[in-house]
């Protein structure tokens, strides 16, 4: 059968207006259903005719999934809140600037106007073999096309690979983990749960076909950010080839509390180096109580990349990750404008 990578196949479109309705539909159609948030990731799969759901459940009509609300000294962000609304929200700007920076660095203005924070954290990997429909491990096959001696794998993983070497491409995910956020999941079966953002993401060792713990029949409804890290000393940096509409080669997000120039506490996350965002707990522990200086930063950088195993074309990610971790600790020197 010939392959054509164009024109979305027909599907039945379901447009619930409440979370309850959405869950009922999810329960009814199970794995035949596809959840549509902003749609930017979904349409790519559908137009390539690789994914062919019978039912598409469009969440855009569910107002209760949208908006930023104060909650227990922190905030709760509805999963269907657009990235633009996250970026513009005064609480996010004033207390969680790292999330603003991360969300603003994602994709392009139009995508941020439509793409949601729930979609941004739940999006699939952008490995160009997998996304082209090659029958790799992640697609249910038994090979990784990106990990052969000849593969072109500049964008792929240096850590945590297990058969699959794809990376998580999200910009908001590391920021949310740095802020110690929680993901609120609701289920058609009524088995609702709340998981730490850190645990929301999974590597191929856990499930090679999924990026998150989200099971069929489950819906990410909200993201909760505690007040603990509000107004901390934040650092977010995304290194990419193009300054708009590009995924990170590596990004870093950190929240730090200092006393004078001593680091009291820190959360530090790097993404696009593994199939899930990596929180660097050992580095966090190491820097606690240390002065915020070059020496600490250098040692932390080296510690961060322990165990890294580059592929043929992505060895640069090792020094890049090291240097971004250093910068998260000691900052970056800028040119004075001439």
């Amino acid at each position: 059968m010939a392959v054509i990578r164009d024109v979305m196949p027909a599907f039945e479109l379901l447009q619930p207006t409440s979370t309850a309705d959405a869950l009922t539909l999810l329960g009814r159609y199970g794995s035949d259903a596809w959840i549509l948030a902003g749609g930017l990731d979904s349409f790519d799969w559908l137009k390539d005719r690789i994914k062919r759901p019978r039912y598409v459940i469009d969440l855009s009509g569910i107002d209760e999934l949208k908006g930023v609300r104060e909650r227990n000294g922190g905030v709760e962000i509805g999963a269907m809140t657009t990235l633009t609304d996250v970026v513009r929200h005064p609480i996010v700007r004033d207390r969680y600037a790292i999330l603003m920076d991360a969300a603003e660095s994602a994709a392009s203005p139009q995508i941020r106007n439509q793409g949601t924070i729930g979609g941004n954290v739940s999006q699939d990997t952008r490995c160009w073999y997998y996304r082209a429909g090659w029958s790799c491990y992640r697609a249910g096959g038994n090979i990784c096309y990106a990990d052969t001696p000849e593969s072109i794998n500049r964008e792929h993983a240096i850590l945590g690979a297990d058969r699959c070497v794809a990376v998580n491409p999200s910009d908001t995910a590391p920021a949310l983990i740095a802020l110690d956020a929680e993901m609120v999941l609701r289920s058609a079966s009524g088995d609702d749960r709340v998981v730490d953002a850190e645990d929301y993401f999974i590597g191929p060792g856990t499930d090679i076909t999924r990026m998150t713990v989200l099971r069929p029949g489950e819906l990410l409804t909200a993201i909760r950010i505690p007040g603990d890290w509000a107004g901390a000393r934040f650092y977010f940096e995304k290194v990419r080839d193009r300054q708009v509409w590009d995924f990170p080669l590596v990004n870093v997000a950190s929240a730090m509390v200092t006393s004078g120039e001593t680091i009291q506490n820190m959360r530090l996350v790097v993404n696009a180096v593994a199939a899930r965002p990596l929180r660097l707990v050992n580095v966090e522990q190491f820097v606690k109580g240390k002065p915020r200086n070059d020496q600490t930063a250098d040692a932390a950088g080296e510690m961060a990349i322990e165990g890294a195993q580059p592929l043929r074309f992505n060895a640069y990610k090792v020094p890049l990750m090291r240097n971004l971790v250093k910068r998260a600790i000691r900052g970056v020197g800028e040119w004075a404008t001439s």
């Binding site: 054509i4 082209a132 072109i152 193009r242 240097n323 004075a336």
Partner: protein
């Protein structure tokens, strides 16, 4: 031309309001009653043979109207690319097309077709094809030989040959030195050995320049139908007059049977020079289906494959410098990835450009153009010279020194140079300059215009309308010669049914030079006729008459005729005056177009027969400042200036936009844009813009600068030359030189210079990147 009223002045092109309101119609914007939609079935393999096509299930689907295969297309001769094939030479090459009532049905029909394919050997890297025992891209060989006798032009017909190099010649390849086995072509001048012998410094370097897709915003969509034995085709092309015979050839009919409509073209950059061969698919489907309109919307996915790309070039340069910096000897060897069709000639242009850019006392050029199972190439804005930035011919003029001086001052070069290379924090700055040369003007084309009793001048324009505004600019010359108010000039373009003269290809910076000459000739022909008509009616000799205030009148304030009166008189006089008699030497297409306009007024019709001594070249000098982040490897362009030596400026705003836009194409090559294939499976990986990375508005400074010296070319009557290509090499070379200035010359030997490449080389204090592979 002295004391001009229009040349050198900004104006509002007459198509701008249609564009800005969305009324301008590009090929895919046309609709027709009962229109069908076509979709392509493309090859999943980089090289294979079609053994059998079973479309029975597809044809049985409701709404499916028919299919078209290679067997339905005319044979275009050996080695010539056709729109459909039974032996795909690259993955993504169209095998057949399906027409159905809508796109969804057509797509589902494609999925129901079983194509039995026999896999054949393939190769996507040119060096792999040259290795001993390496695979050939075609069953008939792996390289294009030198052009056959009588072959002309950049794509002159050549034979396919088989050439393999020895293992010994590949010995240094792993260390990044380009192997140099048997070339297919070469030339040399001067004493190379003496040049190297006298040199104070000799360098031997290898540089790899990637292919990139042209990716005009408008894909090569087309819609076609037949009426009364004539083909009406709405297509996207850079050149209207020159595409007409191509469409006829692709469809196996006579040019007189084709009406081509292409009023607006959404960019081409060399990929739609003489149209796109795929254009004939809806035409031939329609023919098979009794003329019913067929729309073929080419998707971006299709465009990745059939949309053309720049050739890849790996060059090895041995270069000798005297103490004063003068180049005593240059020995250049180029391995070109020609792609699956062609033959391409970029490697030849690159050799010529290198001789112009570097002015070596002695030079040798050797090259080989290798066939690979990658999508077909075509010339891309500055084909060859950009890659060389890296002829011995008399040039018509060159004011490079003036341009350099102007740019150096405007760019504050000395000031910036003072701090380049110094590290501050993680950042280090560098400045670079480069000259982009390009052949910029063909000659010998036709002009056609009529001055009618309504008092208006109708200028027929046979070039394409792809946004350079040259399609309109060339009428400014006629307005100038005929002292015609611009408001009374109507440019007629984009529809061969309206009659257009034989015009140049709108490629390679040709149009401004070629068509200002032609229209200067045509307008002067019309002027002479006006003078003759006046002399006939009012006495005296034609030379006693001049033109002003829409009148032809005796010099000074004497009597004369209004243009309206003269136009009426021309119609009464007939013969040559109203176009019933035309010059012998004009092209048959111009004769046909003139016949459509005969009797409408005074006709200006002429071939450009002006002499020219030398080869016409335009130049742009690029000045760039970059900032390199040594901790991330990221290169940021801080400032850019392009200064052109392109002859007389016709339309300043368009010219400066060409310099900036063209420079941006080169900047993208230097910094980010790529084209990637998996070598093992021979399939394209960079199928999306976020993988291939064309330049965005945030990858350049918010303000860019451009200027031109504006000195006329003495070898062309209007003094103007083309500008499309030269800025590309200028932008590319200036940025690469600036990066080298910032972080040292040894960091990279391939482009684009992405952060991975810079960071790894700095980290390891030696070049670490993939040395020779073409598409990574």
């Amino acid at each position: 031309m002295a004391d001009t009223k229009y040349i050198g002045q900004n104006y509002t092109p007459p198509d701008l309001v249609a564009k800005v309101t969305g009324r301008a119609r590009y090929a895919e914007d046309f609709r027709a009653e009962g229109m069908l939609f076509a979709k392509l079935l493309t090859s999943p393999m980089p090289h294979c043979r079609v053994r059998n096509i079973d479309a029975s299930a597809a044809l049985a689907m409701p709404g499916v109207k028919g299919i078209l295969t290679a067997d339905d297309l005319p044979d275009l001769g050996p080695n010539v690319e056709r729109a459909l094939t039974n032996e795909p030479f690259y993955a993504g090459e169209p095998i057949l097309a399906v027409a159905a009532v809508d796109e969804l049905t057509a797509a589902e029909a494609v999925e129901k077709i079983n194509v039995d394919l026999e896999p054949l050997p393939f190769v996507v890297d040119p060096l792999d094809a040259l290795r001993p025992g390496g695979p050939d891209a075609r069953t008939t060989g792996n390289v294009w030989g030198a052009p056959m006798p009588g072959g002309v032009g950049p794509n002159a017909a050549s034979p396919v040959k088989t050439i393999k190099w020895t293992g010994e010649q590949f010995a240094d390849a792993d260390e990044g030195r380009l192997p140099m086995g048997e070339p297919t072509e070469q030339w040399a001048y001067g004493d190379l050995d003496a040049g190297f012998g006298n040199a104070a410094l000799v360098l031997d370097e290898t540089m790899v320049v990637q292919s990139t897709g042209h990716h005009p915003m408008e894909t090569r969509s087309a819609m076609a139908y037949w009426q009364n034995g004539k083909l009406y085709i709405h297509a996207s092309t850079q050149s209207v007059a020159q595409t007409l015979p191509n469409v006829a050839r692709w469809c196996g009919i006579m040019p007189q049977q084709v009406v081509l409509i292409s009023e607006y073209t959404g960019g081409g950059f060399g990929s739609k020079g003489g149209g796109a061969v795929s254009t004939c698919i809806p035409a031939m489907l329609s023919k098979k289906l009794n003329g019913v309109p067929v729309m073929m919307r080419i998707t971006r996915e299709d465009e990745n494959y059939i949309g053309r790309a720049r050739t890849n070039m790996s060059g090895r340069t041995r270069i000798g410098f005297a103490k004063d910096g003068r180049i005593t000897a240059l020995d250049l060897f180029i391995v070109q990835d020609n792609g699956s069709y062609g033959p391409m000639g970029d490697h030849r242009s690159a050799g010529l450009a290198a001789s112009i850019i570097y002015q070596p006392q002695a030079m040798r050029w050797r090259a080989i153009s290798v066939l690979t199972n990658t999508p077909p190439r075509s010339q891309q804005r500055s084909p060859g010279p950009m890659q060389a930035n890296g002829q011995r011919a008399k040039l018509t003029s060159a004011f490079i020194v003036e341009a350099l001086d102007k740019g150096k001052q405007a760019f504050r070069w000395d000031e910036r140079k003072a701090y380049s290379g110094q590290r501050r924090g993680a950042k280090v700055r560098g400045v670079g300059v480069a000259v982009g040369p390009h052949g910029s003007g063909s000659i010998g084309f036709d002009s056609l215009m009529t001055l009618r009793p309504d008092g208006k001048l109708y200028v027929q324009s046979g070039v394409g309308n792809l946004g350079t505004h040259s399609v309109m600019d060339l009428a400014r010359v006629a307005a100038e010669v005929l002292a015609m108010p611009w408001e009374k000039v109507e440019v007629v373009w984009g529809d061969t049914g309206k009659g257009v003269p034989w015009s140049c290809l709108s490629v390679g910076s040709q149009t401004t030079h070629a068509m200002t000459r032609a229209n200067f000739a045509g307008a002067n022909d019309l002027k002479r006729k006006l003078q003759e008509i006046a002399a006939k009616d009012l006495g005296g000799s034609p030379d006693d008459y001049e033109l002003s205030n829409e009148r032809v009148h005796r010099k000074g304030a004497g009597g004369g005729l209004t243009y309206t009166q003269a136009a009426k008189r021309a119609i009464e006089l007939g013969g040559k005056y109203d176009g019933h008699e035309v010059p012998e030497d004009i092209n048959v297409m111009t004769k046909g177009a003139a016949a459509k306009h005969a009797g409408l007024g005074v006709m200006g019709v002429a071939k450009d027969n002006y002499p020219r001594n030398g080869t016409t070249y335009s130049f742009v000098i690029g000045f760039a400042e970059v900032e390199v982040d040594v901790e991330t490897g990221k290169v940021t362009l801080i400032d850019y200036l392009g200064v052109g030596d392109v002859g007389t400026v016709i339309n300043p705003r368009s010219l400066l936009a060409q310099i900036k836009g063209g420079s941006c194409l080169g900047i993208a090559h230097a910094l980010q844009q790529k084209w990637v294939f998996d070598p093992k499976y021979g399939l394209m990986l960079s199928r999306r813009f976020h993988y291939s990375k064309p330049l965005t508005i945030l990858d350049i400074p918010a303000t860019m600068n451009a200027d031109a010296v504006g000195l006329p070319d003495p070898e062309t009557p209007v003094g103007a030359r083309g500008v499309g290509e030269p800025p590309v090499g200028a932008g590319y070379g200036a940025v690469l030189n600036a990066i080298a200035d910032a972080v040292g010359v040894d960091v990279f030997r391939r482009a684009p210079v992405t952060s991975d490449l810079v960071l790894m080389s700095l980290e390891n204090k030696k070049r670490m990147h993939e040395p020779l592979r073409a598409h990574v």
